[in-house]
């Protein structure tokens, strides 16, 4: 047994970190958050040149064909940097769906563009507030034409292609929809984390190509894969938030000593450290299950998802608290993490949803 990433994988991770430190400091995230640009276009292009978007896409379709463990490491770094790019929905879901379920023609049409970053993909699943449930999906396809509304759709305003969940003759499936085609209306929504945009997509007879094999079980598998990769992003971000918090509490003095010298703070920091480490271990295990397509993936993905959501959110809540007043200002970076934590735990199903799913899978 060997439960660690290889030296080559760690090297790839270091390269990603170096690149992001140089090209995506937190000011980049803030520029997107405060400005009119929907995402950091240069960063997106740079990432594509390094092969990140095509990390698991075969070379035949222009991908780098690294593998899932490598993609997991990249996701970790994307998380650490709070990179304001439409990475997850495009890479973990859209690319993955086409890779997994697409016909040769669908793969040929989309994978090269997704892999080189010239197209952005997304996932259109939920339709209204509340728990996302398969039962609630009203979007439907008839004769290759999709009708219905999806809300919210991550990066829905900038994506070129969406993987849309819809029913046809009562059966749920996934459909590839070219968002630049006819019958698609987009409306930007105010996002809780403005460094990552969201939209409402309305389809009125839009051309929809079915992804064969993406039935309910297939969709569940797709979500498992995406949840594992996103867990790395979340743990990476949580780790960074904890580092920033640590620096701050060591430097801020009150009552004649660093606030970090107070046990009430030290102990909560120790608890957060444990949470992040547990989430990291769970993510690692799930990544292994993903990379070997082990049957354990079903439970491991749920477990990775739950602990990543909680570790990231809890870390950011305390991050603001431990910064005191400045933590509650626009100026300081705490809210960037606080926002991203909630955004990521809302996408792909909330922890509550995954907890129920986990028990289903254990029973």
């Amino acid at each position: 047994m060997n439960f660690d990433f290889s030296d080559e994988q760690k090297l790839l991770q270091q390269t990603a970190r170096d690149y992001l430190e140089a090209n995506s400091p937190l000011t980049t995230c803030r520029e997107i958050l405060e400005g009119d640009q929907p995402y950091a276009t240069d960063l997106w292009k740079g990432a594509a040149e390094m092969g990140w978007q095509g990390a698991v896409v075969p070379e035949q379709y222009g991908g780098a064909e690294f593998g899932y463990l490598e993609l997991a490491m990249i996701a970790f770094e994307v998380g650490r940097a709070l990179a304001p790019i439409p990475f997850g929905p495009s890479v973990y879901v859209a690319t993955e769906a086409i890779l997994r379920f697409g016909s040769d023609a669908q793969k040929g049409a989309w994978l090269p563009k997704l892999a080189d970053g010239s197209a952005i993909g997304t996932f259109a699943f939920t339709e209204k507030p509340g728990q996302n449930a398969v039962a609630g999906i009203e979007a439907s396809v008839s004769g290759g034409a999709l009708s219905g509304t999806k809300l919210p759709v991550a990066d829905g305003d900038v994506a070129n292609v969406a993987i849309v969940a819809a029913t046809e003759g009562g059966a749920l499936g996934l459909y590839v929809v070219d968002l630049d085609g006819a019958g698609v209306t987009r409306e930007g929504l105010d996002s809780f984390d403005m460094s990552r945009t969201q939209a409402k997509l309305a389809f009125d007879g839009a051309a929809a190509e079915k992804l064969a094999g993406a039935d309910e079980a297939g969709i569940a598998k797709l979500l498992d894969v995406a949840a594992v990769l996103q867990a790395f992003e979340q743990v990476g971000a949580a780790e960074r938030a904890l580092e920033i918090t640590r620096e701050f509490i060591l430097g801020r003095y009150a009552f004649g000593k660093p606030i970090a010298a107070n046990q009430a703070i030290k102990h909560r920091m120790a608890d957060l450290w444990c949470k992040v480490e547990l989430a990291r271990s769970n993510a690692y295990y799930a990544a292994w299950a993903l990379s070997t397509d082990d049957p354990e993936l079903a439970t491991a993905a749920a477990i990775a998802r739950i602990s990543a959501c909680e570790a990231f959110e809890d870390t950011t809540v305390e991050m603001i608290e431990f910064h005191g007043g400045v933590g509650y200002t626009w100026e300081y970076d705490c809210h960037l993490f606080y926002r991203r934590a909630k955004l990521l735990s809302s996408q792909l199903g909330t922890p509550k949803y995954w907890k129920n799913l986990l028990i289903d899978r254990l029973v």
């Binding site: 439960f3 509490i249 970090a260 030290k266 120790a270 491991a300 477990i303 029973v363």
Partner: protein
């Protein structure tokens, strides 16, 4: 990353399994897991010693110890494999964890070759059981505040004072003992470390009844107990650094086992019990709670696998090991409490005939507070993580730079 056995590991597993099959009986689904050293009846002690001896004779005792000490120089990974395989068989409760986990490694690190030759083989074979005489009534978390004294008299030391919470003292041959040999210097500097024969004249052992009625630990009184100087480990006044070796091994040996219980048995428990006329597992709140527990338990297990990988690459065990016990003990206590709630009014029964699951959760709920305290309380473990892992400042110490005899021990009168 690879969770499968390597060819060498698979060969080791097969060898271990073959030996176990020939020497022990497979555990049935209804056989309880052995309880750790709490039921110290003569019969249980004899059974534990016989099993340890059998393993030692065949080269399966203390397998990670170097060959020169009677181990087989097994890798940490092989040790896990051995434990996994052994757990499938009916074996007696473990009364050697302190000796093997803490005393043995300390003697190996700090003892002279003569001391090692005298103690290690019988410790390994289970013939002589060991205990740890560290804590005192006024020195628990603040271990270095201990007051038991040793005064040199010719080739011997004369020990007076009291130890407390000494697990297993009543069945032990030997104990590791930290005492004060100089009260005029700062507290850490005045300590020395000895191995003491528990049958020495002047030692009185009084079992203490725990909240679960077991008598696992004891008070140990020392009245003019004489210890030959050749039973001292390391220099006079260097006792604290030897004690740190013991404590490091303690954290490692307690912490590493915590993630193993997966808490997935809670799922089964909630399937078998009714809540509002339906299996409890169908209730959303129940499902979410259990999912939380399972998630944490798996996190611990996966973390210990990561630690193991690091150990097998030759990295030293670090203070990170404190997490296992900190998170694991609280988690198990909460889970036991939750299971008892699910049992409704029967949750407050300790009757193993009628209480669901043979009152196992109730037993655990009663023993877990002890686990949270033994080997360092939650607060001490959090301090270790905060200070040694995260590099946050140490707590202010009111006794810093003060000679031991001048340190306040209670409110001013």
């Amino acid at each position: 990353m690879d969770f499968n056995d390597t060819p060498e590991e698979a060969a080791f597993r097969a060898e271990a399994r073959t030996w176990l099959e020939a020497n022990a009986e497979l555990r049935g689904p209804d056989d309880d897991a052995p309880i750790m050293g709490e039921n110290l009846s003569d019969e249980n002690v004899a059974a534990a010693q016989a099993w340890q001896k059998k393993k030692a004779d065949a080269g399966w005792a203390c397998i990670t110890w170097p060959k020169e000490y009677g181990g087989r120089g097994a890798t940490p990974m092989e040790n896990v494999i051995w434990n996994e395989e052994q757990a499938r068989f009916k074996t007696p409760g473990d009364i050697f964890s302190i000796g093997i986990g803490m005393c043995g490694p300390t003697v190996m690190a700090h003892g002279t070759p003569e001391q090692q030759a005298r103690w290690i083989p019988k410790l390994l074979s289970g013939e002589e059981v060991w205990c740890q005489l560290f804590s005192e009534p006024s020195a628990g978390s603040d271990l270095a505040g201990l007051r038991t004294t040793a005064v040199k008299d010719g080739d011997e030391w004369v020990v007076n004072g009291q130890k407390i919470w000494t697990s297993g003292a009543q069945i032990c041959e030997w104990g590791i003992l930290v005492v004060r040999t100089d009260p005029t210097v700062v507290k850490h500097a005045g300590l020395s470390y000895f191995v003491v024969n528990m049958k020495s004249p002047g030692i009185e052992i009084r079992p203490i009844t725990q909240i679960n009625k077991a008598q696992g630990f004891n008070e140990v009184f020392f009245t003019d107990v004489r210890i030959p100087d050749d039973q001292r480990l390391s220099e006079v006044g260097n006792g604290w650094s030897v004690a740190l070796t013991t404590l490091m091994n303690e954290r490692q040996s307690i912490g590493s086992g915590m993630g193993v219980g997966s808490l997935e048995d809670l799922v089964e428990f909630a399937e078998g019990i009714e809540l509002d006329g339906k299996p409890a597992i169908e209730d959303t709140a129940v499902r979410e709670r259990i999912a939380d527990y399972v998630t944490k338990a798996r996190g611990l297990k996966n973390t210990s696998l990561r630690t193991l990988t690091a150990l097998s690459k030759g990295l030293p065990p670090g203070p990170e090991a404190s997490m296992g016990k900190l998170v694991g003990a609280v988690l198990q206590q909460e889970a036991a409490s939750f299971a008892m709630d699910l049992a409704g009014a029967s949750g407050a029964l300790l009757d193993d005939e009628v209480t669901p699951d043979g009152a196992a959760w109730q037993e655990r709920y009663l023993s877990l507070p002890g686990l949270r305290i033994a080997g360092g309380t939650d607060e001490i473990l959090r301090n270790i993580i905060a200070e040694r892992v995260m590099g946050l400042p140490s707590d202010a110490r009111a006794d810093k730079g003060v000679a031991f005899k001048d340190i306040p021990t209670g409110p001013p009168q």
